[in-house]
């Protein structure tokens, strides 16, 4: 069982909880943790389920609802905003045919806002999974999305 293996490797003290949840989530195909998953982690760590769900529902990088295989995060804070982040949003919404907050029908992409990613000198910036893309233009966006579709 996934939760057991991860917990045994990382350790079962409460300070390991977030790290265990992040890794467990990464191993799931839809990038989220179900109530069964969270229950398993709670059991392994000897923590109340309410605490584990409280943590999972608090942090932005932990998801309790299914997401796409690739999560596209668009920064909308001021440094990116004044560099056209909302145009980026519009273009991505058109390219993927979904609104922000949604997941494509084929389960490939989720589109969501994020708070400042800390790459303001490259504004406007998006993050897809672990990679940052900055100094975005329409052409670049097209290339980036095509690249993910190919893999």
């Amino acid at each position: 069982m996934q939760a057991k293996e991860i917990a045994q490797r990382k350790g079962k003290t409460p300070d390991r909880l977030i790290s265990i949840l992040m890794e467990y989530q990464k191993s799931k195909s839809r990038n989220y943790l179900t109530s069964e998953d969270l229950k398993a982690v709670a059991g392994e760590m000897g923590l109340p389920e309410s605490r584990v769900f409280s943590v999972a529902s608090f942090y932005s990088l932990l998801n309790t609802e299914p997401k796409g295989k690739h999560i596209i995060q668009i920064c909308r804070d001021v440094p990116c905003y004044v560099n056209g982040s909302f145009n980026i949003r519009e273009e991505l919404e058109n390219a993927l045919q979904i609104y922000i907050g949604e997941t494509t029908k084929d389960g490939l992409f989720s589109l969501e806002y994020t708070s400042c990613l800390g790459y303001c000198e490259l504004a406007p910036v998006i993050r897809i999974d672990q990679k940052i893309y900055g100094n975005l233009t329409s052409e670049k966006l097209v290339e980036i999305i095509a690249g993910y579709r190919r893999t």
């Binding site: 109340p48 389920e49 605490r51 769900f53 529902s57 608090f58 309790t64």
Partner: protein
């Protein structure tokens, strides 16, 4: 103890080092308004209502979390402090279901009180509540998200006192909500229905399920013979619903009130508490003699039974097979009593008056039913509900003349009334077991070692050379400790362990009047023992009505009739 000198509102005062501003202010008769604060709980400081101005600080400081220091200058009523208080309360109201007039806590709500006290005449903020449906899944409790002010008191008591952590904050920011994991219904998680959360809730976010109308319906149904039984704890608590001093013994008024409401018979759960002692005492002696599972655990607290079934089902063989006094009463009410008065089981409507919300769960358990058809107890009313019911009938409780219970099930002993306090069941059992084993008369009736608010208590009793070690625990966090002790073998020297789900025992139950603190629990407990001391009979086996019941019907403790009506079994409900 070191003293600290400070100024509050221009008055010089001296208090002990470590005192909170909140308590220091009381020295000059200033009661700074609070909301999330609870004297028995850890400081939360999240409502931000008790803010005061402290010279030298750039921001206002909460009085409930700030400790005084030498030379501190505090002003509690500056324009900024008063305005900030109002704004924060108005902000809470702007995310709250404001239908006060039809709310169950109308007139008895801490949010209402503080809104009135602060003189709030308008809510300047737009109401942004997104209404949700209530969670009415549990037979005992109702959760109403629309009333929650996110104070966190329920979270704390469930986590720290009961050790269950059913509730927590979920989500972040304005979307934060207090609820069970995954937002599940209360009935779908391992809640034990103890209602401690409902007792500390300042508003109507979590309340007992109201069953008053069902009782009115029965009382007004000419086909039904409606009987009521009253728990020991209620007689020292219900007075508080009518402004009487905590710890007032109001038994006679309670009986009069119930009669005035229209109950056909007013009986006393204490009667079956005595009966429970006979059955359970003999069960204990049998286990000791025959090498049965020890330590034996009491079984009258339904919150505790829910706990052991859901969390430690492997230890169920330790639990006494005796039903609780409430259920024994109901079983007799449907199985023995009807014939005595020339009626049938279906003519009897059995109501119980309890300090407890978990009793509502217990009453609807499918096995608590005569021949699978007639529930032992049809409706459980909590102390708080009875208070409201009397309000509906316009009964002026405090003015009532005292009346006596009906016979035969209104007769009881001091051993029964002490069931309401933690350690009471143990003490009652010891009073009887002593005399059964030694054949001697017990002179020293007060087993002080098992009394009081200490979480786990123990005593060792000498039954004429036979040493019996007993233990008493209350609140589920202590119960859990006891379970672990049994599992590890540490508890093997104990023969009998009393476990009460609620802190203080039944007088601290989930259905009791609001505003309970440890200090108040102690006053209710004192009243229980005072009531015991005044009664003519103080040992369960001296109850004449109980003895008649055995002579006429039950024949002997643990006999066939007892097993049929008065004993039960439990279920593994661990998920």
């Amino acid at each position: 103890m070191e003293m600290v000198k400070l100024k509050i509102n221009n008055k010089d005062i001296e208090v002990e080092d470590g005192t909170l501003i909140l308590d220091a202010a009381k020295e000059i008769s200033v009661d700074i308004p609070t909301l999330c604060y609870h004297p028995d709980q850890e400081i939360k400081a999240n409502c931000r209502v008790c803010v005061v101005e402290v010279e030298g600080q750039k921001t206002l400081q909460p009085a409930c979390s700030t400790v005084v220091s030498d030379g501190m200058v505090v002003n509690t009523n500056t324009p900024m402090a008063r305005e900030a208080r109002k704004i924060n309360v108005e902000l809470l109201l702007a995310n709250h279901d404001m239908s006060c007039t039809t709310c169950i806590r109308n007139g008895n709500c801490e949010l209402q009180k503080i809104t009135a006290a602060l003189g709030i005449r308008e809510t300047r903020f737009e109401n942004i509540l997104v209404e949700q449906e209530k969670d009415e899944s549990s037979p005992a409790l109702v959760r109403n998200q629309n009333k929650c002010i996110k104070c966190g008191r329920c979270i704390q008591i469930c986590a720290k006192v009961q050790g269950l952590s059913i509730l927590d904050y979920m989500g972040r920011g304005n979307g934060s909500e207090v609820k069970p994991a995954y937002g599940k219904y209360l009935n779908d998680v391992n809640c034990v229905a103890c209602g401690q959360c409902s007792v500390v809730c300042p508003v109507a976010a979590i309340t007992e399920k109201e069953d008053i109308e069902r009782v009115w319906d029965a009382i007004n149904d000419p086909r039904k013979h409606v009987i009521v039984q009253t728990a020991p704890a209620v007689r020292v608590s219900i007075g508080e619903e009518f402004g009487m001093e905590p710890g007032s013994i109001v038994t006679g008024k309670l009986v009069a009130a119930l009669r005035a409401l229209g109950f056909d018979e007013v009986f006393d759960t204490d009667f079956t508490a005595d009966l429970t002692i006979i059955e359970e005492g003999h069960e204990l002696l049998k286990r000791i003699k025959e090498g049965g599972t020890l330590p034996m655990l009491t079984s009258c607290s339904p919150g505790w039974i829910n706990f052991i079934e859901q969390y430690y089902p492997e230890l169920l063989p330790h639990v006494s097979s005796c039903k609780s006094p409430q259920q024994m009463f109901g079983a007799l009410a449907k199985g023995y009593y009807p014939e005595k008065i020339g009626k049938k089981a279906e003519d009897i409507f059995s109501v119980s008056l309890m300090p407890c919300t978990a009793k509502k769960y217990e009453a609807q358990r499918s096995e608590m039913c005569l021949d699978g058809k007639y529930p032992d107890v049809d409706v459980v009313l909590t102390t708080r509900e009875l208070g409201r019911m009397m309000g509906q009938a316009g009964i002026e409780f405090a003015q009532l003349e005292e009346e006596e219970y009906d016979a035969p099930f209104g007769i009881s002993t001091g051993a029964a009334v002490i069931f309401g306090a933690t350690g009471g069941v143990m003490e009652a059992a010891l009073r009887t077991v002593y005399e059964v084993v030694t054949g001697k008369t017990l002179e020293a009736l007060d087993f002080n070692a098992v009394r009081g608010l200490e979480g786990i208590k123990e005593a060792s009793v000498d039954l004429d050379g036979m040493q019996v070690n007993v233990m008493v625990a209350h609140s589920l966090s202590k119960a859990r400790q006891v379970m672990e002790m049994i599992k590890s073998g540490e508890a093997s020297k104990y023969a009998f362990i009393e476990i009460m789900c609620c802190p203080g025992g039944c007088i601290g139950g989930g259905g009791q009047p609001y505003g309970v603190t440890d200090e108040l629990r102690q006053r209710r407990i004192d009243a229980i023992y005072e009531a015991d001391a005044k009664l003519p009979f103080r040992k369960s086996h001296e109850n004449p009505a109980v003895n008649t019941l055995y002579d006429e019907y039950l024949k002997e403790p643990l006999g066939e009739q007892s097993h049929h009506l008065l004993h039960t079994h439990y279920f593994d409900r661990k998920s």
